[in-house]
């Protein structure tokens, strides 16, 4: 009984280092648990008969362990409990848009008419799947104000590759093969220069101005007949809207270049700004960011890329096309209207399972809900910016878009590094923000709360950070360097991991005695 209103938390409960605690349950590697004979799947006996494998011999053994079903449930449940997730805590990774993943989307993706359909079934038997792709494509075009969209790219970076391939193909088609340079702002995601370089472009960096935006004068000065494109993120990686974007687009088009927009941060503006109104030629959309398909511990994503009329003819195959009477077909060959396509990017028609999730999310929100969601995402970020600005140092004057950027000036002299602050935040029960990105800001801390967080969570997060900053100022650098202390593992030795990589389990070497 607790009628006195006393604190229900026992005093001195400092569960920490290495202590075995209930609900922090270890599980060995599957290879250390079981041998090759166990199985958790009952299958009928294969009928006897000689193998008919042609010239290839049957393999003798593989070395795979097996788990019975209860063992498997326990192993993976225990593993899952060692992860932070949006379902358990705010996950404010800047530039990653870790928003709520509705379970309706999971149910929709598993409808047999979407999930239990083969990509090469006769078209007449996959009309529902094709209609769903077309419906999502329609929404993406409407929300971006763009005339075309290529649905097949497998993730954001793949969409970026598709967009830049379309640009290179369009330039070649015009005979402008001298356009070999791509301009990339210093603050860009690493994928932008990686994509441009992968396609054989020279990457030229464009500096930022003191306001964290593209230096318009430097950009204009760099334009010329050798420029193929600019790759610009908007809102940019500093969480700021590029206010001069229309001028940038106009100057670029005047000089004959294409405008690739990295849509990683579309969540800030969806329903409130159509990129097509800003003069862009191509933009990928990370469905796992803006449209809430689950991040899944690192994929799968989906990266449809919207295209201008100038680029649409070069879009990758296959494409879903209307075939009249509400029916759809797949254009799989580079012929007719698709003769200029640059080709195929992936085995099949795109990340269907992500399309259906995104479509369920979009239909749930509708035009009004998306408008509100973007507004709430921006409101939440600005609220954290306002609450934290008293103790942390914002890199640029506000307002920000959907993420708030701070640098490490407020830690100067404390002996606490950005990394230490982030690790200490883990012990407070929060996932850290993005650190050391964008690279243009020293010791960057990029906080993206998304619209999914209630005000009280934002307040708790801000209170925790404010408390940590006070402790840093009070000279507790050693405690920060030792954080986190309450996690299943403490800081991991990444140097050893990289110097002598151990990338797989191997059976233990026989002991001397056993070997002899």
């Amino acid at each position: 009984m607790n009628r006195t209103g006393r604190d229900t938390r026992p005093a001195g409960n400092t569960a920490s280092d290495g202590e075995t605690r209930p609900l922090v349950l270890e599980t060995p590697l599957i290879f250390e648990q079981a041998g090759p004979a166990t199985t958790g799947v009952d299958l009928p006996d294969p009928p006897p008969g000689p193998p008919r494998l042609g010239p290839v011999a049957e393999r003798a053994s593989i070395g795979l362990p097996g788990l019975s079903e209860p063992e498997a449930m326990r192993h993976y449940t225990r593993l899952s409990q060692q992860n932070f997730a949006i379902d358990s805590t705010i996950y404010p990774l800047g530039s990653c848009t870790m928003k709520h993943n509705p379970r309706l989307n999971e149910a929709v993706a598993r409808l047999p008419g979407f999930a239990d359909v083969h990509p090469l079934q006769p078209e007449a038997t996959v009309q529902g799947a094709l209609a769903a792709i077309d419906a999502l494509a329609g929404w993406l075009k409407d929300l971006t104000g763009m005339p075309a969209v290529a649905m097949t790219p497998g993730a954001g970076a793949h969409g970026e590759l598709a967009g830049m391939m379309a640009i290179r193909t369009a330039l070649a088609d015009r005979g402008e093969t001298d356009r070999t340079h791509v301009l990339v702002p210093e603050s860009a995601h690493g994928t932008n220069p990686a994509t441009a370089a992968a396609l054989g472009f020279e990457v030229d960096r464009i500096p930022a101005d003191a306001r964290g935006r593209v230096d318009l004068a430097a950009f204009k000065a760099r334009l010329g007949p050798d420029v193929a494109a600019i790759m610009l993120t908007n809102p940019n990686t500093c969480g700021l809207f590029e206010g001069e974007i229309i001028e940038i687009a106009a100057a670029l088009h005047e000089a004959g270049g294409f405008f690739y927009c990295d849509g990683a941060n579309f969540n800030a503006i969806v329903g409130r700004v159509r990129p097509g109104d800003l003069g862009i030629d191509a933009m990928h959309i990370n469905l796992h960011k803006t449209f809430s398909t689950p991040h899944g511990g690192g994929g799968p994503g989906a990266g449809p890329v919207v295209l201008s009329d100038a680029l649409a003819p070069y879009a990758p195959l296959p494409k879903v096309v209307a075939a009249g009477d509400g029916r759809f077909a797949l254009a799989e060959r580079a012929e007719g209207a698709h003769a200029k396509s640059f080709g195929r990017l992936k085995a099949f028609h795109g990340q269907m399972g992500m399309f259906t999730r995104a479509l369920a999310y979009i239909l749930s929100h509708g035009a009004d809900g998306l408008h509100q969601a973007a507004g709430d995402a921006v409101l939440n970020a600005n609220y954290l910016m306002a609450r934290l600005s008293a103790v942390m140092t914002p890199s640029f004057d506000g307002p920000c878009m959907h993420e708030a950027l701070f640098d490490d000036r407020f830690l100067k002299g404390s002996g606490v590094h950005t990394l230490d602050l982030a690790k200490a935040l883990i012990d407070e029960g929060f996932h850290p923000m993005t650190m050391y990105f964008p690279l243009v800001v020293p010791g960057a801390l990029l906080i993206e709360p998304t619209e999914s967080e209630p005000k009280r969570t934002l307040d708790a997060f801000a209170d925790a950070l404010i408390g940590l900053v006070a402790r840093a100022a009070a000279g507790e650098a050693d405690a920060f360097a030792a954080a986190p202390r309450k996690t299943p593992r403490r800081r991991l030795d990444e140097t050893t991991a990289a110097r002598r990589p151990v990338l797989r389990w191997t059976p233990p070497a026989p002991t001397q005695e056993a070997a002899e």
Partner: protein, 449 residues
């Protein structure tokens, strides 16, 4: 709106803290005229869960699910039974709603799983190391060709004629943009193709699929020797991962890189995605390998733990010098693969593979008895090629109308090869029952009559 926790009182309080009047004020950097203060007109408003499910159920019902009738499609995507526990476990929120494990202290679940996945893939393919997965088998194959270019410092790839045409096209698209010359041999449905004549001293990669598009398993040892003598890497492609439960793996036949489509294990067909690309190679090439890698290390207390490692190869650090522009892997599909493979274990996988092979053998014998139908292959795993006495595409469409999804006509994949248009690819997995095979046999007999 059920996904948005803020209410108007919250919003008002927050705006006051920020010191602006409205949310619109926060968008003041957007050029005037480009900002939409109201929701886009002409688009539907928000909808409840019941209404959304109802409308999408209606869409889904316009497709014919494979499970609803006799079904024989393969060609790089296979229908296998997925244990219920797999789909439950991957939907645990801690797996489903976490991100790339950049904070290893709070991501050991995903990291340990990736370490186990990498080991499973290495064992299955017979290679030394594997990465944490790629988008799909075709993109993995394209990345393998680029990797061979980095290793050999050459820019020519030889593609087997029996490579899946979608894989060939994915490779040639990427190759064309990256200064690679990719040459393709002609398809040989009987599997008797000889690539040796195409391999020269400029060749970086020889790409060969086993079992190939037509279902023929290949002994790669002689080809590996020719490739190695020319200084090229042998890239083996496997589009049906279950076959690795029965066939000698490419790693034991001299392959330098093995890429595979892992969908067959743990993942639904899903109209072609998301799937999971497997990528494995020898340790000496690991720094040229694309994609994420998980490695073992110790924490500050000396306890074993796992981290993403060798990330200096990746785009977020190397930028324009990265090994690949890829940043995501196919994490959740890799998890499904790993769970299903753990449940199967060696014994279960081998049994599953034998069962597939036995079902296919029974089907091949039954269908070969249909007048006007011949089996092209000498050997196969769970998929073989039929030669019909008329174009296969029309037969497939007709049988679809009659309630049998008969397989993939080769003309769908090789539309320019009129000489192949009588060929039908038929995949027979453990999900196919005897009466399904009978239905297909009857349908083919009726179509030929």
């Amino acid at each position: 709106m059920r996904y948005l926790p803020l209410d108007d009182a919250d919003r008002a309080a927050m705006l006051a803290t920020i010191g602006v009047e409205t949310v619109d004020d926060l968008y003041r950097d957007v050029p005037a005229g480009a900002y939409l203060p109201r929701p886009l007109p002409d688009l539907p408003p928000h909808a409840g869960e019941m209404a959304v499910m109802r409308s999408l159920q209606r869409l889904a019902d316009r497709s014919v699910p494979a499970g609803s009738r006799p079904f024989f499609c393969g060609a790089g995507c296979y229908r296998h039974h997925i244990p219920a526990s797999v789909d439950y476990l991957i939907q645990r929120g801690e797996f489903l709603t976490s991100y790339t494990p950049y904070q290893p202290e709070v991501s050991q679940g995903t990291l340990q799983m990736l370490f186990e996945f990498q080991t499973q893939v290495a064992l299955l393919t017979g290679m030394e190391v594997a990465n944490a997965s790629m988008y799909d088998g075709a993109t993995a194959a394209a990345e393998a060709v680029l990797m061979a270019g980095r290793v050999t410092r050459r820019h020519r790839a030889v593609l087997a004629g029996n490579l899946h045409p979608h894989y060939r096209d994915t490779i040639t698209t990427l190759a064309g943009f990256t200064g690679f010359n990719a040459v393709s041999a002609d398809p040989r449905p009987d599997g008797r193709e000889d690539l040796a004549g195409l391999i020269d001293g400029e060749t970086a990669a020889v790409v060969v699929q086993t079992p190939d598009l037509f279902g023929n398993p290949h002994d790669l040892r002689a080809l590996a020797e020719v490739a190695h003598q020319a200084g090229a890497l042998l890239v083996a492609v496997v589009t049906e991962a279950v076959s690795l439960g029965l066939l000698t793996p490419p790693g034991a036949m001299g392959a330098d890189i093995v890429v595979a489509e892992g969908q067959s294990i743990g993942n639904p067909m899903g109209f072609g995605g998301p799937h999971v690309g497997l990528f494995a190679t020898q340790s000496r090439h690991v720094r040229q390998m694309p994609g994420r890698l998980c490695g073992e290390t110790v924490d500050a207390d000396g306890r074993r733990g796992f981290v993403l490692t060798l990330s200096t190869r990746e785009q977020h650090i190397r930028r324009e010098k990265a090994t690949s522009n890829i940043c995501t892997n196919s994490g959740l599909c890799a998890l499904a693969f790993s769970i299903h493979l753990s449940l199967l274990g060696e014994a279960g996988l081998m049994r599953l593979a034998r069962l597939n092979h036995a079902r296919a053998a029974a089907a091949a014998d039954r269908l070969a008895a249909v007048p006007g139908v011949a089996v092209v292959n000498d050997g196969f795993f769970n998929e073989f090629t039929l030669r019909l006495d008329r174009p296969a595409a029309a037969v497939v469409d007709r049988l679809a109308d009659e309630g049998v999804i008969a397989g993939v006509p080769v003309s769908r994949l090789h539309p320019d090869r009129a000489d192949l248009d009588h060929l039908l690819l038929v995949a027979v997995t453990e999900t196919v029952e005897d009466e399904d095979i009978e239905a297909l046999a009857r349908g083919l007999a009726a179509a030929a009559a």
